[in-house]
């Protein structure tokens, strides 16, 4: 009677037989023991995005990123030759954290010619060399060259700065990103730099929150109010028209709500704010007149499903980094930084082309406000998901074809942990 009717062969999930179609466990999101494994197997081995080159505008620019999941903090700096470097944020003398903001718990940023430890005044160049030791003659058998800052593997791709905390990364950054994510290459990220950034401390495992932003099955219900009352339905749902998987990474693209781009809806099917300001959830209605942002000129890898209409491509870059590109000429990023097995710090940034006048800035504000409200619904609800899973009343859960991305994330996480347990390697073969 109640058998599922979706045939695996005719499904997105069926294209990736290694995923299976069976029930899944979320023990990986409620187990403190699994979290400890994840820290080593994933966050100390995968490439992690820690920022963008615009945060290092000059030689000597630096910022720190505290990575609680790896129990470390990194300094990311542009050295005097212009190269971006990363170091563990630890003084070689007595282990003090080298740079912090108001308190040792706060990140910091700025411009300097050298880093100085506030404990005993040891100083390091932007290249990490120890150059000054107070009362150096008091140390025994001592050579400053033996005590540089500990470097962290650091590579820049399309303006995104990545670090890898492994002693020797198993893959280069570009090998790790693979062909699907590298389909983003050529997008004019350097022209889309007006940034609105948010942070939130959330009461769920990082994967549980990430799951909400990689499927659109929940959108018509949890975010029902995105549609005016006459368009809401709790019975018909939404199916994303394109999914793709490449290694540990995922892509899902959308083509407008039921095929109609939001800005092309009749005005009585929108909220008054939208036609009034000509902006909404999907961005300003008018795409900026920047030729590089015209979909006709975008790299084909941005919309690999060839959707028409095309609205969003949502690149889920393992483990915790997301880039969403919008057809209307802007993009956003999410980062999920675990702080325990049941909490994480979440970051969201919107990037628009710099406003040339107040109207453009107001339209960006409209998009930034509306989009945040949807995120608040996800954040508020997923506390409840974490609670439900932690009750351990049920251990096996079904996933639909529209949640192939959820299935893939949890499988990939498990695969990396298994590979680490098996042979200490990062990326499974």
């Amino acid at each position: 009677m109640a058998r599922a009717i979706k045939e695996a062969e005719a499904s997105w999930t069926g294209r990736y037989p290694e995923l299976g179609t069976g029930l899944v466990s979320y023990e990986d999101s409620i187990s403190p023991e699994f979290y400890e494994l994840e820290r080593e197997a994933i966050f100390r081995r995968a490439w992690l995005n820690v920022g963008r080159v615009e945060q290092l505008p000059r030689r000597g620019s630096y910022f720190t990123r505290d990575l609680a999941v790896a129990k470390t903090s990194v300094i990311v700096a542009r050295d005097l030759s212009g190269q971006v470097r990363a170091f563990h944020n630890v003084c070689r003398h007595r282990g003090n954290k080298l740079l912090w903001g108001t308190t040792p718990n706060d990140e910091t940023s700025g411009v300097c010619r050298e880093f100085m430890c506030r404990y005993h005044g040891w100083r390091y160049t932007l290249e990490g060399q120890l150059t000054f030791v107070l009362q150096e003659e008091e140390f025994f058998d001592f050579d400053r060259r033996d005590f540089p800052l500990v470097p962290v593997h650091c590579e820049v791709w399309e303006g995104f700065i990545f670090v890898n905390l492994a002693d020797q990364p198993g893959q280069t950054l570009t090998d790790f990103l693979g062909p699907m994510v590298r389909g983003l290459e050529g997008y004019p990220f350097h022209l889309v730099t007006e940034r609105y950034a948010f942070r939130a401390d959330l009461n769920s495992n990082w994967k549980i929150y990430l799951d909400a932003f990689q499927e659109y099955y929940h959108a018509s219900v949890l975010h029902s109010q995105q549609q005016v009352p006459s368009l809401r339905s709790f019975a018909t749902g939404y199916k994303a028209p394109h999914y793709q998987i490449d290694g540990p990474h995922r892509l899902v693209s959308t083509g407008g709500w039921k095929g109609v781009p939001r800005h092309q809806l009749p005005h009585d099917k929108m909220y008054p704010l939208e036609p009034l300001t000509e902006a909404g959830l999907m961005g300003p209605w008018q795409r900026p007149d920047i030729p590089e942002l015209d979909p006709a000129n975008l790299p084909p890898g941005i919309n690999p499903g060839g959707l028409d209409p095309w609205s969003i491509s949502n690149f889920q870059i393992f483990p915790n980094f997301v880039i969403l590109l919008y057809e209307r000429g802007w993009y956003l990023t999410y980062h999920y930084w675990p702080t325990s097995h049941r909490t994480h710090m979440w970051e969201m940034s919107y990037y628009f082309p710099p406003s040339r006048n107040a109207s453009e800035r107001i339209r960006h504000e409209v998009t930034a406000v509306i989009s945040k409200e949807a995120g608040l619904q996800d954040a508020g609800t997923l506390d409840g998901t974490q609670m439900g899973l932690e009750s351990r009343v049920v251990s096996r859960w079904p996933l639909s074809d529209q949640e192939i991305t959820v299935r893939h994330l949890h499988k990939t996480t498990g695969d990396w942990v298994q590979a680490y347990l098996r042979d200490g390697m990062g990326a499974p073969a």
Partner: protein, 126 residues
């Protein structure tokens, strides 16, 4: 605009300086002290401590002026807005902030937001 209420000028040396709006937007002056807020965290906090009647009064007054405000502000370079224009821009941002409670949620808080709170720690100015 002949019956408009004149903008209240700032009183030198007074403890609370009322934000001045461009003359043609002086009808919005009654909302300036409360809603000319330069940052999103301040606007969001003000929204949460307001009643729906307060949000609706501001929304109803501002909505018919938003288009004119955008056209007016576009006559100035964004990075060198005179103070009254910068105040007007902040007032429009606040209109955006109160629009969703009025148009969508019918309450100051987002429905289903639970205990979630996002801190916008970086934004362009103005």
């Amino acid at each position: 605009m002949s019956d408009a209420i004149p903008a209240i000028p700032a009183i030198p040396g007074s403890a609370t300086v009322l934000p001045i709006l461009p003359e043609t937007f002086s009808d919005l002056a009654p909302f300036a002290a409360r809603w000319c807020l330069p940052t999103e965290p301040a606007r969001y906090a003000e929204r949460l401590r307001s009643t729906m009647a307060e949000l609706e009064a501001f929304y109803d007054a501002a909505r018919p002026r938003v288009r004119e405000a955008m056209a007016h502000l576009d006559r100035f370079p964004l990075d060198a807005l005179p103070e009254p224009e910068e105040n007007l821009l902040h007032l429009v941002y606040s209109f955006v902030m109160v629009s969703l409670p009025v148009e969508v949620w019918h309450q100051p808080r987002v429905i289903d937001a639970g205990t979630a709170y996002f801190d916008r720690h970086l934004e362009p100015t103005p």
